[in-house]
Every structure is written in structure tokens, then in C-alpha cells.
């Protein structure tokens, strides 16, 4: 396998880990889609994305889906990793409304050390604003 293709290869199908499941449920809880995915999320399968170990995962819907099927972000969250580096989480659906990706963006691109406790995960609400999120009231 070439170096370039290995950078594009998704990992094998697997179940969500408990820490991922908890965070996704927390992210969904503030959305109108919580009911839609609440009962099925724990049985969904995912694949690790080749992001250098930051922890991004792609949901499997029975067939491969390309990036062109991305629909929209439905929830955003952030936390500080155990090494102190900020991490952004973006949960998205595809154009048909099925869960698509949990994109994990660690500020320095280094591998995720570990997910924190759920109380350390902050749901980010931007209210349509660009820039940094508005101060919480």
C-alpha cells in the first residue's frame, strides 16, 4: 500500500467505545435529533478516520460514503485534553440526515490522549456567529 493511500484508509468497522458513546449522547442531547438517534446510537458501527490519531470517526450506514455526502454540523463541543491541548468536536449528518462523522480536531494535531469526564466536555453554541463562540450567559 502506498503512503498516500494509507493516509486515506478508514479503519475496520467497530462498535463505539463507551467514552465516544457518552460524548455523542451528550452532544445529541441538545439537538432536535436526540430522539431520532437516541435508541440506535449505541448499536451503530464506526470506522476510525486517518487523522493522525486525533480520534475522528465516521459512522457506517451500510455502505461507504464520500465526503461529498456531508450535510451539516448538528452539534459542537470542546474540551482540554489530558496534556492541556484544546480539542474541538464536530458531529455531523449527511445530506439525508443520517449521522456522518464525529470530527475531532486537536489544536496541535497531536494524538488524543483520552476523552475527559463528560462534565469536562463543553457544548459550544455559536448561534450562527463566526469567530470564537459568544460568551456564555
Amino acid at each position: 500500500m502506498s503512503e498516500a493511500s494509507s493516509q486515506r484508509k478508514l479503519g475496520p468497522l467497530r462498535n463505539l467505545r463507551e467514552d465516544e458513546l457518552g460524548i455523542i449522547k451528550k452532544m445529541l442531547s441538545g439537538t432536535a435529533l436526540a430522539g431520532k438517534f437516541g435508541s440506535q446510537i449505541s448499536t451503530m458501527q464506526v470506522q476510525d478516520m486517518p487523522d493522525g490519531g486525533m480520534g475522528s470517526i465516521k459512522f457506517f450506514s451500510g455502505r461507504p460514503r464520500s465526503e461529498l455526502e456531508y450535510g451539516t454540523e448538528i452539534a459542537e463541543a470542546a474540551f482540554r485534553d489530558a496534556d492541556g491541548v484544546p480539542v474541538s468536536l464536530s458531529l455531523s449528518v449527511d445530506k439525508t440526515g443520517d449521522l456522518f462523522e464525529l470530527d475531532v480536531f486537536k489544536a496541535d494535531g497531536s494524538p488524543l490522549v483520552q476523552y475527559p469526564g463528560l462534565d469536562q466536555v463543553q457544548i459550544i453554541e455559536r448561534h450562527g456567529q463566526l469567530g470564537f463562540p459568544p460568551p456564555r450567559s
Binding site: 487523522d51 493522525g52 465526503e67 461529498l68 456531508y70 484544546p86 474541538s88 463543553q122 470564537f132
Partner: protein, 79 residues
């Protein structure tokens, strides 16, 4: 972003691929994307460090008529 708030798009091949996966799928030229984001972001530098609420700075640019949203993190307050 890295020290000195130089704009970077991943620090190894996997990260760079991940950063550009959507624009690559759309057939956009990486250099055009980099130029558009750099031009849009530069007036906002230096970004405050640490990032408020650990969240990234988000903006939108248009490349070849396609609206793109990008996320940027400050890695230091150096300027």
C-alpha cells in the same frame, strides 16, 4: 496554527490529508484554499490565546464559488 501564529494546515501527511479531505473531494486546488483562508484569517491575527472555551475560531471563505467553513486554533500567543 503554530508558534508565532503562522498559519499551518496539519503537521504531518495524515493531518494534512484530513484537513483537506472535503476540499479535495470538491476538486478544489489546495493552494487556492490555503491562499483564501490565509487572506481571510490574517486580519484577525493574533488570535487570543488560550482559545475561549477551548473552541476554535471559525470563519467562512468562498473558493471557486464554493462556500467553505474553516476552523483555526491558536497554539501560542506569540506574534
Amino acid at each position: 496554527m503554530s508558534g508565532g501564529q503562522e498559519v499551518v494546515f496539519g503537521q504531518n501527511a495524515s493531518q494534512t490529508y484530513h484537513a483537506f479531505r472535503y476540499t479535495d473531494a470538491l476538486g478544489l486546488d489546495r493552494d487556492e484554499v490555503i491562499d483564501a483562508i490565509g487572506a481571510d484569517l490574517r486580519p484577525h491575527l493574533p488570535l487570543p490565546f488560550p482559545a475561549p472555551d477551548n473552541a476554535p475560531f471559525i470563519r467562512q471563505v468562498v473558493v471557486n464559488g464554493i462556500s467553505l467553513r474553516y476552523h483555526a486554533y491558536p497554539l501560542s500567543g506569540d506574534w
